[in-house]
């Protein structure tokens, strides 16, 4: 099969790519990478991602890494398939670019750290650092205040359609909803409604189902 995703069903970055493939209705082969044995730091995986982090991606002779680059490659290559996820008019695209940068530069730092402390560390038998949790909840609250303002004006972060800018948030929201950090989301009605909407999408439900199977 031309499209292959090398990663883990539990890795947020891998889940980001899978969400995109399911939204586009694309077939792919999943190649599980065992982080427990350090498979991600050795050949052949490290030839696909020289930074030794999940996921890696192939589409024929295209071999790339960085989940947000992969999702953009998929959406701009398979424009006619499934959910559009992007705009093609430069001015609409620009608002989408802003939404994607806001997710990776403002939202993901606190959200990623909270997911790590509250979900992944306990799973690995490590202790949660409560000081970090408190500090990052404050940061997340400040960021989500801006989102609350934005989502009072449009249904999704970059306009009235679901796009990559919304999709990129799914894996960390999925993890945060199972933790005390859910309160930060729930305290903001437009953010809460938007979260519920995007997490309920059938494509995302398929990605979650893979964790259970």
């Amino acid at each position: 099969m031309a499209i292959k995703v090398h990663g883990s069903f539990f890795s947020p970055a891998t889940m980001r790519v899978l969400a995109c493939l399911h939204e586009k209705g694309l077939d792919y082969e999943f190649v599980p990478i065992n982080m427990g044995t350090g498979e991600h730091k050795k050949e052949p995986f490290i030839l696909l991602n020289p930074f030794g982090q999940l996921p890696g991606f192939e589409d024929g002779d295209v071999k790339i890494f960085e989940s947000r680059a992969i999702t953009q490659y998929i959406t701009y290559t398979y424009t006619d398939k499934g959910t559009p996820l992007v705009y093609h008019d430069p001015k609409e695209m620009a608002v989408l670019f802003v939404g994607m940068q806001v997710e990776s530069q403002h939202y993901d730092p606190p959200a990623g750290k909270l997911a790590w402390e509250l979900t992944i560390k306990p799973f690995l038998g490590m202790d949660t650092d409560e000081a970090v949790v408190e500090e990052q909840e404050v940061q997340l609250a400040k960021v989500l205040d801006v989102y609350e303002y934005r989502l009072a004006q449009s249904k999704y972060v970059s306009g009235d359609s679901f796009t990559l800018a919304d999709l990129h948030h799914l894996p960390t929201f999925h993890y945060l909803m199972g933790t005390r950090a859910k309160a930060v989301i729930d305290a903001r009605p437009h953010v809460r409604a938007w979260c519920a909407d995007i997490l309920a999408r059938p494509a995302w439900q398929k990605v979650i189902a893979m964790q259970h199977s």
Partner: protein, 212 residues
Amino acid sequence: MAIKVHGNPLSPAAQRVLLCLAEKDIEYEFVYVDLATGQQKKEPFISINPFGQIPAFEDGDLKLFESRAITKYIAYAYADKGTPLLVEDPKKMALIQVWSEVEAQRFDAAGQKLSFEILVKPIKCWATDEALVEQLQAQLATVLDVYEKRLAQSKYLAGDNFSLADLNHVPRINNLMKTKVRALFEQRPHVWAWCADILGRPAWQKVLAGLN
């Protein structure tokens, strides 16, 4: 003028946008934002960037923020002007996307914090955290080892031509060259040659000349 950049010309993020406009040979009006008085946290600036950070950007009625979103917009909207910074072929464009993400997620993650510790803190009379600087240098060194291997295979990060992925690095590298972090670049011959090339571009020289 249709295009306006709001910021401080010494800010690397603002410089990223100015460089892109210079590469594209596009005219613009620069609107100075006084960071010392917190102008970026108040109206009218905060209506353009609700995160209260520079730069902000206008093109007619389009208002944007996040320097990397702005440079990407300029590169798409003005694809026919000046230096091509993107490509149409999705497979080649994929590499520009990859190395643009690497710059934002990995290179600048360490680079921005190093810049803050070594260059910004002393201006505010705050103490540099030397232990953090050592840790960040080690982090950046690991990233630059990957760059060294990559740049041994192609002249620029995404291939044989200068692209948006290279451009986004320029202001931060320029800053770090003024510090001891310069050694990390100097120790890696392909990285060093690439730095000299991208910092030597006429568009960047024009941005630097404009600062004076």
